[in-house]
């Protein structure tokens, strides 16, 4: 009898262990997650030059958190997301990151919005062995070499935003194939990393497509009036004006150039890809082309649900930055689900999450999502153009190679 009871107990234990090892839908123990909290911190530019983009990222993230929590959380654990404004300032961005990592004890971070801030924040997160997922930084040397000029790959830094090193050449190639322009002028803001990186990429790309870059015109973001620069550019009669800059500047350049009678093509980078820029440029921006990580009408199955949910929640269409913010939360939730977190050993949990992020493979509004071996995004690129009324229309779809 005793022997039968012992065998029964052993069998029950084995069954329980087996259930535990496959529970939660991801190979982790569901019980260890139930009632726990997964703390995430997002460093976004809600005000300042990046304030055009940060609020959209925030709304996308909040939507994803809300959906996940209402759907039972991550194996039963609820996500809490703290969004802090870095005012588009590098120093404030680093201070916020430090607080989130050390005082708030967040499991992982998202952001910051601007590449200029990322050069301070990402090395900090790497040093503190805290996973950080960039959602809108597209400059050079974001991943994997976040400690540039060191070439040692950063292990804790990931990015779900489409780098300008992919977006700008794809856009130039697309337009060169369509229209065969022969001359161009580059207008580039020289005082932030995102813009100046974009300018370098344009300069390095144009010759490949037989475009003669007549002049590179550099300016600072805090210029009162961009007209003198635009007058200089228009006076050279280029086929294309390339603009690599942030916030409201691309729209100001477009409006001024059209007023001065220039009829050529505007090409740009990620700085174009938000409704604010398209809306401000209005008719002057009609046809301006850029390559985007996301397109409102893309046919990926999870995009339609995302767009509908976003419009219901916020009353307007999402943009690329909202889609990337939303996807970032889904990525972290998927990784957390599979990471077998302990909730008692923060450094250990951060490392487990980092490892799980490397094998993320989910459906997202950006399409099927995986990281490359360098923690960069691997996805479809959408070449879009402004429709003159605050929106964008699709020009080309370039599948991930």
């Amino acid at each position: 009898m005793k022997r039968t009871r012992l065998i029964s107990v052993l069998v029950a234990a084995i069954v329980a262990a087996a259930c535990g090892s496959t529970g939660g839908g991801g190979g982790t123990s569901g019980n260890s997650y139930a009632g726990k909290t997964i703390k995430l911190g997002a460093i976004l530019s809600i005000t300042g030059a990046g304030g055009v983009y940060g609020p959209q990222s925030r709304d996308g993230m909040n939507l994803a958190v809300d959906q996940i929590n209402k759907g039972g959380g991550v194996n039963g654990a609820q996500i809490t997301l703290t969004v802090s404004d870095d005012a588009s300032l590098q120093t404030q961005s680093a201070q916020v990151a430090q607080t989130m990592i050390q005082s708030d004890q967040d499991l992982a971070l998202l952001g910051p919005t601007l590449s200029n801030s990322a050069v301070a924040v990402h090395p900090l997160a790497e040093n503190q062995k805290t996973p950080i997922l960039a959602v809108s930084t597209t400059g050079i040397n974001i991943v994997p070499n976040c400690n540039f000029p060191s070439t040692v790959a950063c292990r804790y830094v990931f990015r779900d935003s489409l780098g300008e090193e992919t977006a700008i050449p794809d856009n130039i190639q697309s337009y060169a194939n369509d229209a065969h322009p022969s001359t161009g002028v580059l207008l580039v803001a020289q005082d932030d990393k995102f813009s100046s990186d974009g300018g370098k990429i344009v300069e390095a790309t144009v010759a490949k497509y037989n475009i003669n870059l007549l002049k590179t015109i550099k300016f600072n973001k805090a210029e009162a009036d961009l007209s003198p620069y635009v007058t200089t550019a228009v006076g050279l009669h280029p086929d294309v004006i390339f603009i690599t800059s942030l916030g409201g500047i691309p729209a100001k350049i477009m409006i001024e150039a059209r007023k001065q009678g220039w009829q050529g093509q505007f090409l740009g980078g990620n700085g174009f890809n938000t409704a604010t820029v398209s809306k401000n440029a209005g008719a002057a921006g009609m046809g301006a082309r850029s390559a985007s990580a996301w397109y409102l009408g893309n046919s990926f199955p999870s995009n339609a649900d995302f767009v509908t949910a976003f419009k219901t929640a916020f009353g307007h269409d999402p943009d690329q930055f909202a889609a990337q913010g939303y996807t970032a939360i889904k990525i972290l939730a998927d990784a957390a689900r599979r990471a077998n977190l302990t909730f008692s050993d923060l450094p250990g949990d951060r490392d487990k999450l980092r490892a799980a992020m490397e094998t993320v493979n989910i459906q997202s509004p950006l399409g099927p999502f995986q990281f490359t071996s360098t923690h960069d995004v691997k996805q479809t690129v959408w070449v879009i153009k402004m429709d003159g009324a605050g929106g964008f229309t699709l020009v080309h779809e370039i599948k991930a190679s």
Partner: protein, 304 residues
């Protein structure tokens, strides 16, 4: 080159109009009102919000934008300046208090989003916006290779006319004499029956109304209205202009404004775009080395 000269005259007019308000306060009070750039922003933001979010006519909105800016001048006087003056605080204290108010004004505007406390003031957060097309008539002509845009052309005579009116008021009216008396010697002015506090309040009203108008003209003509236009576009330049012209001198501010506009544009044309700011401020530095008191600063007691 003709187009670039036009660009210089246009932006010079904005600089001059902004700097005249700046220098007026310095001339009377001997302090720098660093909330002036926030008032510049406020004028543009209020005008935009009245048109786009409250459905007011453009012209009425412009008038109300100037009125709100002028009232903010009173707030500057009653909140930032008068209490410190009563306590005989040094000028640096007033400078810091005006910086504080500027930060509050900008923060209030950038927090303005739908559903927030400041939604009545602004709903676009940090976003730059432009007046919707058709809000005001803005024909553009192309003449002899020049692009002539109505709003930018209008800024030039409006600015010049206002500066002439201000100059006339200061020189030939009783109010102007009162202001100049306060600038010269507040104690003597008080003994002569001038209501000094009232004159200072009036100075802040006039200065802020001009600053608000400069913001409206800037925002409308350049299609750029955001919480940061004052801070990014005119704050430091305005300071440079009044130093160039002579601290406290209205003619100096006018001349300095146009000169800075011209130097900036010529730097782009002749020396390359990436050195614009450097050239402009190198010229300013040179000017100060050669003539530290600025163009019209020789007789400091006769300022404004």
């Amino acid at each position: 080159m003709g187009q670039q000269i036009l660009n210089a005259i246009f932006i010079g007019s904005i600089y001059a109009l902004f700097a005249v308000g700046y220098t007026l306060v310095f001339g009377v009070l001997d302090i720098l009102n660093l909330a002036h750039s926030a008032v510049f922003t406020l004028g543009a933001a209020v005008t935009y919000t009245l048109v786009v979010n409250h459905g007011q006519s453009f012209w009425l909105a412009c008038v109300l934008g100037i009125v709100v800016a002028a009232l903010m001048g009173l707030v500057i006087e009653y909140v930032c300046l008068r209490p410190l003056r009563r306590r005989r605080a040094p000028p640096i204290a007033a400078l810091i208090s005006t910086i504080g108010l500027a930060l509050i004004i900008i923060a209030a505007i950038e927090q303005g989003r739908p559903g927030t406390l400041f939604a009545w003031l602004w709903v676009d957060g940090a976003n730059p916006v432009t007046m919707p097309p058709g809000t005001f008539p803005n024909p553009t002509w192309h003449v002899a290779g020049l692009t002539l845009e109505a709003t930018k052309l209008a800024v030039i005579p409006i600015s010049i006319a206002l500066m002439l009116v201000l100059g006339y008021v200061m020189r030939y009216t009783q109010v102007g004499r009162g202001l100049r008396a306060v600038a010269e010697n507040p104690r003597a002015a008080r003994l002569m029956g001038v209501d000094v506090d009232r004159m200072i309040a009036l100075t802040l009203i006039i200065s802020s109304a001009l600053g608000g108008l400069a913001g409206i003209l800037f925002g409308v003509a350049l299609g750029d209205i955001s919480p940061y236009i004052g801070r990014d576009s005119v704050e430091v330049r305005g300071l440079a202009v009044i130093v160039l012209g002579g601290m406290g001198s209205i003619p100096g501010a006018v001349l300095g404004g146009y000169l800075l506009g011209l130097i900036e544009v010529l730097a782009v044309v002749l020396l390359g775009s990436n050195v614009r700011a450097g050239v402009a401020f190198a010229a300013l530095f040179l000017m100060l080395v050669l003539r530290p008191q600025g163009f019209f600063g020789a007789q400091l007691r006769e300022r404004i």
